[in-house]
Amino acid sequence: MKRILCSLLLLASIPAIAADYSVQPGSTIGFSGTFQGEAFTGQFKKFDATISYDPANLATSKLDVSVDISSIATGDSDRDNALPGGEFFSTAKFPKAHFISTAFRNDGNKVIADGTLTIKGVSKPVSLDVGFTPSGDGATLAVSTTLDRSDFNVGTGEYADTSTIGADVKVNAKLKLTAK
């Protein structure tokens, strides 16, 4: 009896662990920039994500996303040819972009994931808006933020001019998750 009680106490003292999820096909990581005053959208076709999430226990939640930059596609061949180049993402040298969360927190009725984003070898603190919608044994994780491309040296030299290529790039991800 004493042993059982001990075990129960021990169990109760362990915080609930956030559930691990795997990302399903059909998930997207996209972005929207502006060129000559008009929005254009693009997607990264290849990425990996490791996700632990529990809305009731944000402290143990974790998000780790690695994006294959050369899988970028914006629907314009001129642009898609230019983006892997040295002035933009320099994919030969920096093939991946990486986000790793450091903390999740509630902000009003929103959830924010603070973390570090690395693009083109530049690491910056970035906060993501996170929306978590459970469905069946899985969930949909919607993530969005706005980045300034110049923070990461995306578009240098003559391409730094923000009057032609806007500074702000909105990033939107919709990850379909199933419990591991």
Binding site: F35, Q36, G37, E38, G75, D76, D78, N81, A82, G157, E158, Y159, D161, S163, T164
Partner: protein, 196 residues
């Protein structure tokens, strides 16, 4: 110089339209030939943007010019053979059509290609058609063919004006030139030939 044209000469508004648009059209033709040779770069993007902005300016001026022409009388034709009159008026008609068709085919091409359209970075204009590769290729060829037709018509137009000016020594060019005074009936053409 009168604002409106009269029986003998073109007014200042008609002359301004003529020379301003002539300048823009020649510059834009040059830019058009030059820009397609450029390697992908910001310069290429900028030159294309200027070409498109000038083209849109020509289109806007064309609309204003046509509206003005609606109630501005044109000078009477100078005495010349009938075939010259027909050739001159045909060339003018063709130029009016081309001043509309050149920018419009460029705008359509730009739309079908899926590019933004901005006027000197100040405001954007909508696409006229949706993105469509086959249509874009066709419109590109159309825009280029119209350009070479324009070059041919301009050779006729400019050539005719110069022949009238230097060989016929009449007022055809003078009545369109800015600040130029016409040769009056009291001035013998031979008197002014020494200045040429």
């Amino acid at each position: 110089m009168a604002i409106k044209s009269n029986d003998r000469q073109w007014g200042s508004v008609a002359r301004t339209f003529h020379w301003l648009m002539a300048l823009l059209i020649v510059v834009n033709g040059g830019l058009g030939l030059y820009m397609t040779e450029l390697k992908p770069s910001m310069d290429k993007i900028s030159v294309y943007a200027i070409h498109k902005s000038i083209g849109l300016t020509v289109l806007a001026l064309f609309v204003l010019r046509l509206s003005w022409r609606w109630f501005d009388p044109r000078p009477r034709d100078l005495p010349m053979p009938r075939w010259q009159k027909i050739a001159a008026h045909t060339a003018h008609g063709a130029l009016y059509l081309l001043m509309l068709a050149m920018p419009l085919s460029g705008w359509l091409f730009n739309s079908a290609h899926g590019n933004p359209l901005q006027w000197f970075k100040l405001f954007n204009l909508p696409a006229l058609v949706g993105k469509n590769k086959a249509l874009a290729d066709f419109l590109r060829d159309t825009h280029e063919t119209l350009f070479w037709i324009l070059v041919a018509v301009l050779v006729l137009h400019v050539g005719g004006a110069l022949i009238h000016h230097y060989r016929e020594r009449d007022n055809t060019l003078r009545r369109m030139l800015p600040f130029s005074r016409q040769l009056g009936t009291d001035v013998h053409p031979a008197e002014s030939s020494s200045t040429k």
